[in-house]
């Protein structure tokens, strides 16, 4: 079986806000049962209620080219071939740059631990690796969250919009945002009405930093030539001057500071 990169499709028109996904996530990942009102180190997915009875899940989007992965200096965060973006605490230095980089404000930190970790949804990596669905998708009673490989999900989303254009706002959130995400959303209303970040570029954020970092060898080489040449130039002038002055009286000694 060829490995397909998996993801989730979350259809906000179908979500009834029961919170079964949050509960399932808690259980599967051995997290304390209280559900916080936003993403925290111990709550990896929440369902927040917007006005007019819409319920919006929040969780890691498992970006196709994640900013968090590019930003982590020790590669503690990685994107697996199956789709999940996972974390390895044994190398993490706790710099929290991943939190700064993530456009969805997903990674959370254990602020009150002397041995703190970064924590976030891992797309149920141990299950997904075995070809199983995620805990949240399995628990969802209305199939508002469905699990599948990303390509199939995109087709499914397109088909739903096409079949019932009145029901859906014509946009798949996550198709192109920051170069695409594995967790995608369908909504009955424009996404800015649901407080989604609609200000995102449609290429990977890591392109920006990499395009700068790529210049490093050029800058080093250019700088070395510039400084080397300057050294040669300015010090040669000096030597010439010294040679000329050998005959005459020596140069006046500069005033000493103390």
């Amino acid at each position: 079986m060829a490995i397909k990169s998996s993801g989730l499709l979350i259809d906000i028109t179908r979500c009834i806000g029961c919170g079964a996904c949050s509960d399932a996530c808690k259980e599967i990942n051995d997290l304390p049962p209280e559900i916080d009102d936003k993403l925290t180190a111990e709550t990896w997915t929440v369902v927040r209620e917007k006005d007019n009875d819409l319920h919006v899940r929040d969780l890691c989007r498992h970006c196709v080219e994640p900013a968090c992965v590019a930003s982590c200096l020790v590669a503690a965060l990685t994107k697996t071939e199956h789709g999940p973006v996972i974390y390895d605490k044994s190398v993490c230095i706790g710099c929290r740059y991943c939190m700064v980089a993530c456009p969805f404000q997903v990674p959370c930190f254990e602020w009150h631990s002397p041995n703190p970790r970064i924590r976030k949804c891992i797309l149920c990596e141990p299950r997904v690796r075995e070809g199983k669905s995620t805990g949240c998708a399995e628990a969802c009673p209305t199939e508002a969250t469905v699990f599948g490989d990303r390509e199939t999900l995109v087709e499914m989303a397109r088909a739903r919009i096409k079949a019932d254009p009145k029901r859906y706002h014509d946009h798949i959130y996550g198709l192109d945002e920051v170069g695409g995400t594995a967790v995608m959303f369908l909504s009955p209303v424009p996404f800015e009405d649901l407080d989604f970040n609609t200000d995102l570029v449609n290429y990977p954020l890591s392109d920006i930093t990499w395009n700068i970092l790529r210049q490093v060898p050029t800058i080093v080489a250019g700088g070395a030539v510039f400084l080397g040449a300057s050294y040669w130039l300015f010090n040669r002038r000096e030597k010439v001057k010294q040679a000329e002055q050998v005959v005459g009286p020596g140069p006046k000694k500069e005033a000493d500071d103390v």
Binding site: A70, C72, Q105, F109, P114, S206, I208, I212, G223, D257
Partner: protein, 377 residues
């Protein structure tokens, strides 16, 4: 022995000791109860004052070290020799403090060595850490000449002299890279930062501004060293440094404004509100006031004016780094972050430790020498 020990205890130093003790207690809490116990950081504000001040501003202000070293050793501006050692010392201490700050700041400092075994070359932060390690080493070597001179190790001194230009060039290259890469760090978060501070060209902003700020710091600490160490500032040199600094500030400002104009967001600077207010306050302190004061008086600039100029540059520069690292994020999505008093105390302790170390170094080592080596050789 005893008498000199008594003389060492002054009220000023007692306050300092109490202060440092408080800091030590806070650090204890930080390592036993987590970063959240003494900072106001949160999942919405993962980076706060310690990153803005201790790291971004601190490293930037240490830029005087590589600029002065390059001026003297590469561009052969020998007259600045009396200042270069002090600048290198400041930079070295700045980096050591920065590394100590980093150990407090990151959550899992015991994993820091992983940077060497698990590199991710796609991460700007990886480049920053590499450069910090390398440059601290270079600074240490550059500064080692002071030890050689102190202990009269003339042979080592001679070796150093042959290598010094290489070291200085290496140091300047590494500095250029990582000063700018500190700006690159933030380019990954375009949608999270206010457009008056976000720019894909942040690395250039960071580089240009650190040169001016580093020189401002060189002037500023010359006045401090007069105040505390009774070492008169070399006004003839400082006024020239200030003039060059002003030129760099002009370059920076043109770049800053031009960048805003090209990206079509310059209007935001003229839209009434907190963002515009901060923007102008920052630039008034960092650029406008210093430029006016320096260019009006030229090389005849007086002590007081120069003191004000350098203070203003340092302050404005710190403000810029704060705005990039903290305020610009808060302006987009207010997470209500303001540093806790404990964050302030720890930062202040780090700075104090730096000043104490600098003072000791100046007392014990021929930092202000530098001239003598020529006559010795």
């Amino acid at each position: 022995m005893f008498r000199s020990a008594v003389k060492l205890i002054t009220p000023w130093r007692l306050i300092m000791a109490a202060f440092l003790a408080t800091g030590a207690v806070l650090v204890f809490f930080r390592f036993t109860r987590g970063l959240g116990s003494i900072t106001n950081l949160s999942d919405q504000t993962p980076w706060g004052m310690w990153v803005g001040f201790d790291i971004l501003a601190g490293i930037g202000l240490a830029a005087g070290g590589f600029v002065m070293a390059a001026a003297v050793y590469v561009f052969n501006l020998k007259k600045y020799r009396p200042i270069v050692r002090m600048a290198i010392l400041t930079a070295l201490l700045g980096y050591i403090i920065f590394i100590v700050g980093l150990i407090l700041e990151v959550g899992r400092p015991w994993n820091m060595w992983r940077v060497i075994t698990n590199p991710n070359i796609h991460s700007p932060l990886y480049e920053v850490s590499l450069c910090v390690m390398a440059y601290t080493m270079v600074l240490f070597l550059e500064f080692s000449q002071v030890f050689f001179e102190k202990f009269g190790w003339n042979r080592l001194m001679a070796v150093f002299h042959r290598l010094s230009v290489m070291l200085v060039i290496l140091g300047a290259l590494i500095s250029t890279l990582h000063q700018s890469t500190l700006g690159t760090l933030f380019t990954i978060a375009p949608s999270k930062m206010h457009p008056l501070w976000y720019s894909p060209l942040l690395p250039v902003h960071f580089f240009l501004s650190c040169i001016a700020a580093g020189l401002g710091m060189v002037c500023f600490e010359s006045f401090l060293s007069e105040r505390f160490l009774k070492h008169p500032p070399r006004m003839d040199l400082l006024s020239r440094i200030a003039r060059f600094m002003a030129v760099m500030l002009v370059a920076y400002f043109i770049f800053r404004i031009g960048d805003l104009a090209v990206r079509g967001v310059i209007g935001l600077a003229f839209t009434a509100g907190f963002a515009a207010l901060l923007f102008w306050l920052e630039n008034l302190l960092f650029v406008i006031l210093p430029i006016i004061m320096v260019f009006r008086r030229g090389l005849n600039i007086g002590r007081t004016s120069l003191f004000i100029v350098s203070f203003s540059v340092v302050l404005g520069f710190i403000m810029h780094r704060f705005n990039v690292a903290i305020t610009s994020f808060q302006l987009v999505k207010d997470a209500g972050y303001f540093p806790s008093w404990m964050e302030f105390v720890v930062t202040a302790c780090l700075i104090s430790a730096g000043f104490i170390a600098a003072g000791l170094a100046v007392h014990l080592l021929p930092v202000h020498g530098g001239e003598t080596e020529k006559s010795k050789n």
